[in-house]
């Protein structure tokens, strides 16, 4: 193991009675990485984080944080960590400042360091006006800010944040993500979230878990391509055509598109009266744009739009974790490639 591996989980399994919350979870996070930890509800994100912070012991497997084993040296692990548990449970009878001071004192921080760190934390977490308020009287979002402040107070090399932005308003969310990106340069951050746009903004890498298993792990681009498909959107004018050529009917167009080599499937998209729009999917490493252009020229059709993009993270997420979803809705699990209708539409406005 190189010294740059800051978090390493290997074969983590956690059994709650008959319920297997984690099943052989293995991953490494190195210095300078900001990793998004994704998964549907109950996938095991919080459980993994609790194992890494030595709050729970795994049933099997080992983990090291900052080179320290979670079994053998839990104190050293916790010293190098800042951890924000889900829903930020705080002592409600303390004021914000008292709480932050408490966290700093337990960590053995001296007073002058505390003062300078406090001003930084106040700035990042936007706590200037709430410092003397009692935590019991804070709104949920402010509680989360305090929880985050508590995790940042000692400027730790490793941050583990369980849904750090779930209750924040957009301004504070942006500020926190900006800060995370900032400090992420030479620190290590593992953050769980349900907001995929957030991951695209602040993380270079994502780990997706589903039913206690890691189903994808890698750079965002890599993950987007795990389903092995590229999406094209083609729109053709349905009234006007070149010279003596006739504009195509929807069926004619679809037939022609399907006949192209490399097209794995096509689907009509809703449009106005003017054009037929189709979504095609093609293999990951192919590029159908030239073929499509030639088809248009040959038939004399008017091409209004042609776009190629990788599948959105959203769609990949849904595809990878579909088993969970189906079980939750009480449907039998079907292995079917052709859905993701709405997610495909959502991603239309993205790029």
């Amino acid at each position: 193991m190189t010294s740059d591996v800051m978090i390493s989980a290997s074969g983590l399994t956690k059994q709650f009675g008959s319920n297997r919350a984690l099943d052989n979870v293995t991953f490494d996070v190195t210095r300078g990485e900001v990793v998004g930890f994704l998964g549907p509800n109950g996938a095991g994100k919080s459980t993994t984080m609790r194992v890494l912070t030595c709050f729970l012991a795994p049933t099997a497997g080992t983990a090291t944080v900052h080179g320290f084993d979670v079994f053998e040296d839990p104190l050293a692990v916790r010293r190098s960590l800042g951890y924000l548990p889900q829903r930020a449970p705080l002592y409600s009878d303390m004021s914000v400042q008292e709480y932050l001071l408490f966290a700093a004192q337990v960590r053995g921080m001296d007073e002058s360091t505390f003062k300078s760190r406090l001003s930084k934390v106040i700035e990042v977490c936007g706590l200037a006006q709430t410092l003397t308020k009692q935590i019991a009287h804070l709104s949920h979002g402010y509680r989360q800010r305090v929880g985050l402040g508590q995790a940042l107070i000692h400027d730790p090399p490793i941050l583990i944040l369980d849904e750090p932005t779930s209750d924040l308003d957009p301004n504070e969310k942006a500020e926190v993500l900006r800060y995370i990106k900032d400090i992420g340069e030479n620190r290590t951050i593992l953050l769980s979230t349900h907001n995929l746009a957030e991951v695209e903004d602040s993380c270079a890498r994502a780990i997706i878990v589903s039913k206690g298993r890691v189903v994808a792990d890698g750079a965002l681009d890599e993950i987007r391509s795990t389903t092995g498909r590229v999406r094209y959107v083609v729109a053709v004018d349905e009234k006007v055509a070149e010279g003596s050529h006739k504009p195509p009917s929807a069926r004619e167009l679809q037939g022609a598109l399907d006949a192209l080599k490399g097209v794995r499937g096509s689907k009509e998209l809703p449009t106005d009266e003017k054009a037929h729009r189709f979504e095609l999917s093609g293999a990951q490493d192919s590029d159908l744009r030239a073929e499509l252009y030639r088809l248009m020229v040959q038939k004399g059709w008017t091409l209004l739009e042609l776009r190629r993009d990788a599948q959105s993270l959203d769609a990949v997420f849904r595809e990878l974790t579909r088993g969970d979803e189906e079980l939750d809705r009480g449907r039998p699990v079907i292995d079917d490639d052709e859905d993701d209708d709405d997610s495909a539409e959502n991603s239309d406005d993205k790029e």
């Binding site: 912070t53 030595c54 104190l75 916790r78 829903r87 930020a88 002592y91």
Partner: protein
């Protein structure tokens, strides 16, 4: 300051952030005053009233003070989830247990020592009943302090076994009351070994000597070992959490 002391300080202060501590303190003084002066006779305050104090104070500790003070120590942390925040700071499990213990014990001991105001009032000012034999008073307080240490440890143990304050309160109440009165049951059993065993664990018979001016090492050791046992079990209960 060590992590343990930081936790103890926070714990101690948190009692005063809620009306709980004030209510318990006032109630204790009120009931104790009533018991000592009313049962003993307000105009007949004499040396016997000090004896009454040592009779009633442990009962107040067992039935009210200790259950109320310890009920939330661990139970509330578990219910509200703050335990996760606390435990994932760089603290040892033993720091958490001892910090909680000393925080609660601090409050209880202040209450116990504050009851010394009664004998002071009677024999010094304003009653001025004359010189008092300080021996039994001193040993009586040693007994009360030892009893408090043990009772708080038991309360903390029970609080760390549940995540409901109410359950913790009632079980602690029940256990302490049983351990207090179990000695009286000894008179009604005919098997001698059973009677001896009951007398052996009875807090009441253990404290009896102290209030009469006798500090018996066996009694001291009994209280101290019961305290250590309860603390170790509370520590184990906290540790077990990781293995659910």
């Amino acid at each position: 300051m060590s992590p343990m002391m930081t936790i103890a300080k926070r714990e101690f202060r948190s009692y005063f952030d809620s009306p709980l501590a004030y209510v318990v303190i006032c109630l204790t003084f009120l009931l104790l005053g009533l018991a000592v002066f009313w049962v003993g006779g307000f105009w007949k305050v004499d040396r016997a009233s000090v004896h009454l104090l040592f009779q009633y104070m442990p009962v107040a500790l067992a039935m009210l003070i200790v259950p109320v003070v310890t009920m939330r120590s661990m139970a509330e942390e578990k219910r509200s989830g703050t335990l996760e925040m606390l435990i994932t700071l760089p603290v040892k499990d033993s720091d958490v247990i001892l910090g909680k213990y000393f925080g609660a014990l601090g409050l209880v001991l202040i209450l116990v020592l504050a009851t010394a105001l009664y004998p002071l009032a009677m024999f010094w000012a304003p009653w001025n009943l004359g010189p008092l034999d300080m021996g039994p008073v001193f040993s009586g307080y040693v007994g009360l302090v030892l009893f408090s240490c043990t009772a708080v440890a038991i309360g903390l143990l029970i609080s760390s076994l549940t995540d409901s304050q109410a359950v913790a309160f009632f079980i602690t109440f029940f256990v302490l009351v049983v351990l207090w009165f179990i000695g009286s049951a000894a008179e009604h059993v005919d098997k001698e070994w059973l009677a001896n065993a009951l007398m052996y664990v009875s807090f009441q018979s253990r404290l009896d000597g102290f209030s009469r001016g006798l500090i018996d090492t066996r009694d001291v050791i009994f209280f101290l070992s019961a305290m250590v046992l309860a603390l170790v079990m509370a520590f184990r209960a906290l540790e077990r959490r990781r293995w659910v």
